[in-house]
């Protein structure tokens, strides 16, 4: 089973990297961009075929390591 975990910064957390990317896009002449927030994507292979089990394993992975819940949110999608 495959899954994708997306980790993003919580609202209100300053993201200087996103700001720099936003500035770079502006300087490249890419128009219409009002804001950029940078996040992370993890593509994960799971041994189980059981969706409920996969969900609980992925939740543990996110809570224990993949996201720092002080500043980040995470979203799990199972293929």
């Amino acid at each position: 089973m495959k899954a994708r975990v997306t980790v993003t910064l919580k609202n209100g957390v300053l993201d200087p990297q996103g700001k720099a990317i936003e500035g770079a896009l502006k300087s490249l002449g890419v128009e219409g961009i009002d804001g950029v927030r940078q996040g992370k994507v993890f593509d994960i292979e799971l041994g189980t075929a059981d969706k409920a089990q996969a969900e609980s394993q992925l939740k543990a992975a996110c809570e224990k390591l993949l996201a720092n819940t002080v500043i980040e949110n995470y979203r799990v999608e199972i293929a």
Binding site: P16, Q17, L66
Partner: protein, 232 residues
């Protein structure tokens, strides 16, 4: 007094800290991150600076979950002293021993320069050799030192007097200019609630010899050593 310096893959300041502790009069042992226990009789645990695990995922995230950190947590829960410098501070935040997180510097630059800090209190095991309000001349070298915490945590840190050091000018004035990484409230270091865990971004271990620019960092190590009766 016995110190244990934890070494992770990618630590690189363990030698400096070992030297600083030795010259202040502590026995020091290096401890590999995969150990499950600290050496018998460890009084102080130091997490040195560096780039543990190449800063992968988030700075300090992987080291913060290393096997040895369970032993460090137990040591801290018993009231044992823990000092995290630079990457060590990041590891303490990621391991849950200190609140908040060190984000990318606000100006996105790796900063590496001499830096004055204001000593916020001198009644802890880490700072008794300094005066309250003293400006000490140390140095910083980091890309992720921008201390960030939620409003409630920040209020608690300030209310309980848990801010250890703030970025300041040579006179000890906390100014916006001195805060080069964008840290909230100019925070350079914080204590745990029981004042036995200290995390700080700057490097006191680099300023212990006149030969290399100054000795203001010595006070921190001398404070620690003087907190313990000398072994017979």
């Amino acid at each position: 007094m016995k110190s244990a310096v934890i070494v992770f893959p990618g630590s690189n300041r363990e030698g400096d800290v070992l030297r600083a502790l030795n010259s202040a009069g502590s026995d020091v042992q290096k401890v590999w991150h995969a150990e499950t226990e600290l050496p018998q009789g460890t009084d102080l645990v130091v997490l040195p600076g560096g780039f543990s695990y190449g800063d992968y995922l988030r700075c300090g995230a992987i080291a913060g979950r290393a096997t040895v950190m369970d032993a460090v947590r137990t040591h801290a829960a018993r009231g044992g002293l823990v000092l995290g410098i630079c990457n060590g501070f990041q590891i303490l935040c990621e391991s849950g021993l200190l609140p908040g997180i060190l984000m990318r510097n606000a100006n996105l630059k790796f900063i590496c320069h001499r830096q004055f800090l204001r000593v916020e209190r001198n009644d802890t095991a880490f700072t008794r050799a300094y005066a309250k309000g003293q400006a000490i001349d140390v140095c910083v070298a980091h890309g992720e030192g921008n201390y960030t915490a939620d409003e409630e945590t920040l209020k608690r840190l300030e209310g309980e007097g848990l801010v250890a050091f703030r970025y300041a000018d040579a006179q000890g004035h906390v100014t916006q200019d001195a805060n080069r990484n964008g840290s909230m409230n100019s925070i350079a270091g914080i204590y745990s609630t029981k004042l036995n865990v200290l995390g700080m971004m700057p490097h006191p271990e680099n300023l212990i010899e006149d030969l290399v620019g100054g000795t203001d960092g010595r006070g921190l190590f001398e404070s620690l050593v003087s907190s313990f009766p000398r072994a017979a």
